[in-house]
Symmetry: C2
Subunit: 198 residues, 2 copies
Amino acid sequence: MASPEIEALTQALSKLPGLGPRSARRAVLHLLKKREGALAPLLNALMAVEENLSTCSICGNIDTTNPCGVCADPRRDGRALCVVEEVADLWALDRSRLFPGRFHVLGGRLSALEGVRPEDLAIESLVRRIADGGIDEVVLAMNATLEGQTTAHYLAERIERFPIRITQLAHGLPVGGELDYLDEGTLAQALRARRPVS
Amino acid sequence: MASPEIEALTQALSKLPGLGPRSARRAVLHLLKKREGALAPLLNALMAVEENLSTCSICGNIDTTNPCGVCADPRRDGRALCVVEEVADLWALDRSRLFPGRFHVLGGRLSALEGVRPEDLAIESLVRRIADGGIDEVVLAMNATLEGQTTAHYLAERIERFPIRITQLAHGLPVGGELDYLDEGTLAQALRARRPVS
């Protein structure tokens, strides 16, 4: 049997998404065998993050600074605001570098099943940000799920009184998507939103 | 863009086996969102291991004690010695709890291709352990690969002068293996080593 310390490390790693008990064990072995090359860098990186971790008081992003790197970036266009469900969504959109504006993280989606109500999400702070002015467009970038779309509709109603453009991400065929393999829901959306050939 | 600290953590995690850049990012998000429940335990576990990590001077196992937990365990049968290529193999056999004896880690396998020669492996220390006496049986538990089997043959020749039993793991159908899906090499081994129905 491995020592309690090694067992504890295996346990902690196996709780990460994407790692099970088996792959956690392999990861631990890798760390043990590469003390300088793998264990030390991971340990240092974790300590650096642990020390400075904070939730951005403006947008809800998680970063090592507050306000976060996105909110503090002067090159960002403050007139466009992209509302997302989770921090992961913000990161995904930010990575694509296609959206030049700022973000707002709701911290989830409305869900009758899971008992998530409007007051459980960062909706009041969103309304306040819009009420403060300076914003021209709000992009509702919810997931293309039932709950995501319900949340988008709810938000659209909550902010329709402001003189802003409210948009949402297009739905349709994903790039590389083959009709034969796509679900009916996606096909229906793509057909409904069909556009003239340009 | 995420902060440099978060980028460094993503980098460090993405180098673990089983995690790519994408899953590392998901793992980092998980850690950031569960500071108390995931980040802190992982950090503490890493520190505890980092502090005490050592290679067992007897068998070559990696553990937080030296001699390692296996070598120090008085319930282990010192008369049986199982020789493995890597620490990972020792752990796999130890987990199965089927082998009650001690281990010896070679630290690799002979390989003309990769230029691994006998002096690169812990073979001298193996011979010394056997020469010191008290060992009745040596199990050569190399991988069922060409290089593993070459190593086993080499080891068998090196230690055949000792009055010990030299054995190796059986080769044949894996449990649940279907003939239709097995490679010819395995089938050949299973057929060659066929036994009377008991």
